[in-house]
Symmetry: C2
Subunit: 223 residues, 2 copies
């Protein structure tokens, strides 16, 4: 019985890694769709999101059933409870990629991102990609040093977010209110995606060390 | 032993109600601080937030320990697992009130909200207040009819959010990019606060009926 139980626990871990991979693909496609005005790419992100939601729901159900049937304690219980939290973070990351894809779709056939903002958004997309790829590895390997690297990379996202606001508030901003609103929301979607990546990393640290994670990182106080 | 156990379960429910009350006070004060340019009010929201975070952490610890020690099944386990999720939603509602207070503080001694936007923000604040007050009652009484009323009220928040964007995008917008950014972020903070209120209500429905909640409501697709 214990073997089936541990196989199932491993399998939940694998599902989390799969979710990280899926929300990573979603983010990559969403950023590309946004920067290239690629409607088909945006639609593919939008139509793929329910698969992530379904994995969240299935994993919640499995965690609940394992707790009820196996009555785990100590580390095993911590893994299951923490997995319940991680699937929420990962699902939310998928939602944020979806929001970005919807901005691309809404502005199509125009490009949502003005040419002089393209660089900073592209860099935010790259940091998001790098973060989610590390998140998959942290979950897979319970690598707490890599978890620390995720915290550092979140600082780069914050710096890019500040840079974005500097561009929006420059006297040279010539793209009007609608584009300013779009850029404000996009900035927030990328930043929150990074925050949830950090939250997942902190939860893995909790599983490994037993040190309860701090609250998810605060948003930037731009406004 | 079972009596102490059920007392403790009740006590966790009371803590959730307390958290709803605290994040309701925070939202009321944050909205007032924002509309009146009240620095002291904004500071009081900011300095009160760690108390909500501490309740979240304490409740997580208690839920974990109860699951480990008492090995509950069926409804009791569902209550504990769901409480773990609800404290996250409630803490996040506190964070969103905090963000609103920070906008008030950042723009002080100016008013962050232009006169012609004041009405819609004030109404968003009122809906937020009404929502969180219902959330406290729903948790306290496990009242699933009231939970349905929360869903309906979230629709009012979405309508106000749309109205805000209409004002921002009107050709008469004369307040510049900085105010447009502030209003965009404020709109999102109120909307997300309402979304988390709905999420809590759905979790209570899950406890009562066993019907697993849908994902939290999607954000408005404005951008």
């Amino acid at each position: 019985m214990r073997d089936i139980y541990h196989d199932e626990l491993d399998d939940i871990g694998k599902t989390l890694v799969t979710m990280a991979r899926l929300v990573g693909i979603a983010m990559e496609r969403a950023t590309n769709a946004l920067l290239d005005g690629d409607l088909a790419g945006a639609e593919s992100v939008i139509s793929s999101d329910p698969a992530v939601d379904a994995l969240r729901e299935e994993t919640e159900r499995r965690c609940f059933e394992m707790i009820a049937r196996q009555q785990p304690v100590a580390t095993d219980l911590r893994v299951l409870i923490t997995s319940l939290h991680m699937v929420q973070d990962l699902e939310r990351m998928g939602d944020l990629a979806l929001h970005i894809a919807k901005v691309a779709r809404l502005r199509y056939p125009e490009l949502a991102v003005p040419a002089d903002i393209r660089d900073v958004i592209s860099q935010m997309g790259e940091v998001a990609q790098s973060l989610v790829s590390k998140v998959g590895d942290v979950i897979d390997g319970r690598d707490i040093e890599l978890a620390a690297a995720i915290e550092a990379e979140d600082d780069s996202m914050d710096a890019l977010h500040r840079k974005l606001f500097t561009l929006l508030l420059s006297p040279n901003w010539s793209h009007g209110t609608e584009a300013a609103i779009d850029m404000t929301l996009l900035g927030r979607y990328y930043e929150r995606y990074a925050d949830h990546a950090v939250a997942v990393a902190r939860r893995i640290v909790f599983i490994v060390t037993g040190v309860r994670p701090e609250p998810a990182p605060a948003s930037l106080d731009i406004a």
